[in-house]
């Protein structure tokens, strides 16, 4: 080929080759952290998990032994499976960690095709947990859980929820069964805000969702909270799991757990766990959590693994019932 063209090709190859050489080698664990840490969020910007991570990262940066940036990184898609895959396959050098929705992400893993294994990840800790509650529209004639049970004797009670791969769907079915209410789910809503709006509008008789959301809606006089699935109720006037005689309801939760790739060394894990715990105690974070009504419930690595296993066991126990449908 002509001389000029050959030189051109060689030049491009040379440039590319030089660029390749500049890839950074891995660093030793004792210097941790020595480069920026990506904190992966399994959803787009603006969602619940996103807010948590963005509130915590500045405090985390302060709490880490060396000065690096913790970068909130959104990796939405496939109901959280995409983010989980990235973290599962990342290098175990502490440069990438992520926040997980448990049991939501377990439901995704069970879908098959997943490519990741939650129990193999290095669990670092917990940021928060949400319990669920039951509410009806402000103008509903239903005044208590007993009213709902009475209604269920005449016809199935309608609940709004997300699709079968969502946490809400499973939470609603399990709760309805525990309460002895025959339920019919109106699925198809795209997210928690969407299906709660559906209940406010009157698409359904009742709705089961996280308590902070219910509190917000109740304060705005759009929903009335009938029950909270906690051992000791936090909403006056609403029955709690103990009063309803179903303590198992308190197992229906949304856990916000943090993990890194499999094979993270013990000292990196300890450093990250310590940073997260300190960040959750930071006054700015505490202040934000109060204003945003976001529960902070720190746990260390061992407790987080126990929580994970507990939630997986709970879900597995109910799986045959959930698969059979409503």
């Amino acid at each position: 080929m002509p001389d000029l063209q050959r030189r051109f090709l060689l030049a491009s190859l040379g440039v590319s080759g030089a660029a390749l050489m500049l890839r950074r080698p891995a660093f030793a664990a004792t210097n941790f952290p020595d480069k920026n840490i990506a904190f992966v969020i399994p959803d787009g910007p603006g969602g619940g998990f996103d807010s948590y991570v963005r509130a915590i990262t500045p405090a985390m940066e302060k709490a880490l032994p060396h000065k690096v940036t913790v970068v909130p990184t959104n990796v939405p898609g496939a109901g959280g499976a995409r983010a989980a895959n990235e973290i599962f396959r990342a290098r175990p050098d502490g440069a990438m960690i992520g926040i997980f929705n448990v049991p939501g992400i377990y439901i995704q893993q069970e879908r098959g095709n997943a490519g990741f294994d939650l129990e193999k990840l290095t669990w670092i800790g917990r940021v928060g947990v949400d319990h669920y509650g039951l509410a009806v529209g402000e103008n509903s004639r239903i005044k208590s859980v007993d009213d709902l049970k009475a209604l269920a004797k005449q016809r199935p009670v309608k609940f709004t929820s997300t699709g079968p791969a969502g946490t809400a769907y499973n939470a609603t079915l399990i709760a309805a069964h525990l309460l002895g209410i025959r339920a019919q789910l109106i699925t198809g809503y795209k997210g928690s805000r969407d299906y709660v709006m559906g209940a406010v509008r009157g698409d359904s008789d009742a709705v089961i969702t996280a308590i902070p959301t219910l509190r917000r809606m109740a304060a705005g006089k759009t929903l009335r909270i009938l029950a909270t699935f906690e051992e000791h109720g936090s909403v006056p006037g609403a029955a709690d799991a103990t009063a309803l005689g179903q303590p198992e309801l308190a197992n229906i939760t949304l856990q916000r757990l943090v993990a890194g790739p499999p094979g993270l060394t013990a000292d990196i894990k300890a450093a990250l766990a310590a940073a997260i715990t300190k960040a959750l105690a930071d006054p700015q974070v505490v202040g934000w959590a109060k204003k945003a009504d976001a529960g902070l419930a720190p746990e260390g690595p061992e407790q987080a693994i126990a929580t994970l296993k507990g939630q997986i066991a709970f879900y597995n126990k109910w799986k045959p019932y959930l698969k059979a449908g409503q």
Partner: protein
């Protein structure tokens, strides 16, 4: 160019290909549960019918021309020009360039594919001098890097060959 019912074959191709794709889509749809196949099946059946009408309307038969008049009058004139050899070659080349860039982005990643594509395109299609091409390629790579990697802090895809997912 062979003509069937008075129209060059190439003018039937899009509707024909789409008809086959829709048939495949329909077959797949029937493999799903009743609730989830209702709408797709409905749409697919309607498409098959519409595409048959489209194919017929492209013929020069009496019925075909009547269909065109009723349902697609604006199409009457466009049929006239058949593509010449040169246009076909340019179309093929344009599509190939696009496919090439997409493949390059997939294989060697954003930061390498962009300058290579821009430089190659300016050289082979635009016949600009080597200096201009290399400068433009480097400039584009810099722009992309600044805008996406630095400002937006997006991990620029490294390419399948270099460990991308």
């Amino acid at each position: 160019m062979r003509r069937v019912f008075g129209t060059p074959i190439v003018d039937y191709l899009p509707a024909l290909v789409l008809w086959l794709l829709t048939a495949g889509y329909l077959v797949t749809a029937y493999g799903y549960s009743v609730e989830s196949r209702v709408m797709p099946a409905l749409v697919a059946w309607s498409m098959l019918a519409l595409l048959m009408l489209d194919l017929i309307s492209r013929t020069q038969t009496r019925f075909g021309r009547a269909l065109t008049r009723w349902l697609n009058p604006a199409a009457a004139q466009v049929e006239a020009a058949s593509p010449d050899r040169d246009t076909a070659r340019r179309q093929f080349a344009a599509v190939l360039w696009l496919a090439g860039l997409a493949t390059a982005l997939l294989l060697i990643g954003v930061l390498y594919a962009v300058p290579v594509y821009v430089a190659a395109s300016l050289r082979l299609r635009g016949r600009r001098s080597y200096t201009v091409c290399l400068a433009a390629g480097a400039g584009m790579a810099l722009l992309v890097w600044l805008l996406f990697a630095v400002l937006l802090q997006i991990n620029l895809y490294p390419g399948l060959l270099f460990g991308g997912a």
